[in-house]
């Protein structure tokens, strides 16, 4: 199965719907100008509203997982993703592919782009990050256990260092201990999941020639633990993005839903 397309039939159906919608728009455009108040403009607006309603079903399904008769959650996710993209297309068609001039209509237009755009960003993140994490790191951790595992690493390091030479202790105190206080997310992990780690363990090689045989063994053990900690940092960095994109998506979509209500009110009432 293609990493980016889980279900070709869904993609095909989506593309067919988009093509039909665009074809209808082009035909209508030759007959009369399309703007939100024209007959076809309103029709596209109703279509967009319907698509938005269907898209929201995913949120409901997530809260009704116990009811198996409602179908697979995966199907609702497909509807959510492709329906959302179709919704944005219909919004553009509703506005005649022009930027609205009204305050709430402009915000509605902008938030529609934002919500669908952040949703697409979420898809990209969810497809890309897990692959990166499994391809370049030896450790795989649960995001919510990061603090606990770092603490365990720190304790084991301190236990090892306690019996070692002062030079190794100094090295540990200056170069290793500051990084074991907690998670240290770094932007560089987005660009190279391993490059940052290799650079940061180089000092271990610099100090090794100056240590005795027993301390070298201790240094190697500490290096292994430190490397694991850095990999946990990489995990935290990328997994935070994996979860954090929802901040861009959900609150804004809630506000957009309310603004859609304002839009419907203003259209129906006036």
């Amino acid at each position: 199965m293609n990493k980016w397309v889980q279900s070709p039939p869904w993609l095909l159906g989506f593309l067919v719907l988009c093509a039909l919608a665009v074809a209808a728009f082009i035909v209508n455009m030759t007959m009369e100008p399309i703007h939100p108040g024209s007959t076809w403009g309103i029709a596209y607006g109703i279509g967009a509203l319907a698509a938005f309603g269907v898209v929201l079903l995913h949120s409901l399904r997530r809260r009704t997982l116990r009811f198996q008769k409602l179908g697979r959650s995966w199907m609702y996710l497909q509807i959510h993703v492709y329906g959302g993209a179709l919704f944005l297309l219909l919004v553009f068609m509703h506005s005649g592919f022009s930027v609205p001039t009204g305050v709430h209509t402009w915000w509605l237009w902008f938030l529609s782009i934002w919500v669908v755009g952040s949703g697409l960003l979420g898809i990209v993140i969810q497809k890309w990050i897990p692959t990166v994490l499994t391809s370049g790191l030896r450790v795989e951790i649960h995001y919510d256990r990061a603090g606990e595992l770092i603490k365990a690493i720190r304790q084991r390091c301190e236990k090892l260092i306690a019996k070692s030479d002062p030079r190794l202790k100094g090295f540990y105190t200056d170069h290793v201990a500051p990084s074991l206080g907690g998670t240290n997310p770094r932007l560089t992990y987005f660009f190279d999941i391993t490059g940052g780690i290799h650079t940061r363990i180089k000092p271990f090689g610099h100090v090794r020639p100056h240590l005795s045989g027993a301390d070298k063994t201790t240094l190697d053990a500490v290096q292994e633990l430190f490397t694991s900690k850095l990999e946990i940092d990489a995990h935290c960095t990328l997994q935070r993005a994996l979860r954090g994109w929802l901040v861009l998506h959900i609150p804004v979509s809630i506000v957009m839903t309310a603004l859609l209500g304002v839009h419907l009110f203003s259209v129906m009432y006036y």
Partner: protein, 517 residues
Amino acid sequence: MAESDKKRKGFFGDVRLPVSKEYVYPAKQTFLFWVGGIGVLFLAAFFLIDVTIKEGVLVSNGPLSSAHASFGANCATCHTPLENVSNDKCMVCHEKFGGDQGIYSFATHYLYRSTDFTRLTPSTNEVSCATCHSEHEGREAVLDAVPSAMCISCHEYGSFNDQHPEFEAIGSGVPDPANITFSHTRHVNEIISKVGETDLEKTCLYCHQSDPVGAGFEPISFDVSCASCHLTASSSTDWLPTGGNGVQTLATLRAQRGPGTGWVDYMSPGDFQERSGRVRKRPVYHRDPWILENLKRLQGIMYPDNELASLLRASADVAPEDADILYEEALATLTAYADELRGIPDRSVQRSLSEIDDLMAEIKKRIRDPLSPLDETKFLLGSASVDPDIDEVTLSQYKELIDGLTLTCQKCHSVDNASIGRVSKDQSTFVRAEFNHRSHIIQSGCLDCHSKIPIREFAARDSVAAVKIDHAGIQNLPSIQLCQSCHTPKKAANTCITCHQFHPDKSQHSNLLRYLN
């Protein structure tokens, strides 16, 4: 295995990190909904403040155009809750005369643009003003800049440069029955030789005089353009017999005082010369009432069934502003007819009376509104055939009399069936579009576009063009291709509203309303 490790479920990774002792649930993200909820609360507060205290900026679909900006927050000026913007609201300002079908209706559009008065019935396809005039598109928006696509939704033309029909005057190919003998090349050469005009373009302006705006031209007037050369003091009728089968003298007409002969008091007896039972009028005036009155009388004798048509057509060359006089005269004649018939109980007479009443209604309508085209064929009560009781000799005498009476007239006008052909041609050739000469004359000369009559070829030459290529019936208009060479998407404007207006001229407002109401 260390003691502490025993308590664990296992290890993972190269450094043997402990596996969790219990299932780790992902952290709840309920706060996302709280953040969204706060956003909604802010939105709701803004919305309430906006619609109650402020100007409803939030619910508006955009700023109003400059023309409607003064309505501000008063949405009800145009909007009716739970309904579309109705034409009624627009008409409060735009249809001062009231009524539900005015100048801005589709019915008026059909009437105005087609000049088809059968389309007076209000259209069932009436659409709201807002369909074409889209508001809330910003202060700078121009509401009457209706996109061509709106027109194309009814009119099946791709655009001005695609499938637009030829100008009707060109496309129909029907010669204009100008009823006047006129050679452009002869007159241009006259101006060149007698006035000494050297600029060929300027020779046009000696007769075609611009209106004050420069968009079009005033109708050609005999008094302004022709009188200096034509109908001089020496112009006269032939010597004509009087009485019986002859003409009626001024004295006779004064004594009769028939309808529409008020002019007899002002006509000088000195204009007439009498000699052994014959009379000659000298000089002859343009639209000479004595000639027309006698011609009308002869028509009545020769073509008794033609009656009103003759009456209407006899007053040849009537200017639009004088048309009322003509129709008032027809109305007076009809009324006199009708009054005589009303007391006769015969069924056929009463049927005729009914026809006359219809005709009177038609004429009254025409008098009320000069826009109303009067179908003169309606006034052909019978055929245009000669009265069978008139013998050949008498008929020949009448024809000779008519020729003598219209001797001077026939130098320019056609005379047929004892009537002077009415000169219907004027300067307004485009019925459905406007053309602004002023906008074009800067770039092109008159003859660059009006080239169907070969004025350039015959300018300052001794000869004039043959009648078949130089007569008043030629619509000296360019074909649409010439316009399309400049009015293209990449050059001059080529939208529908560049030339066409949907709504009639406001100056015709009251006239149209009268019909539609």
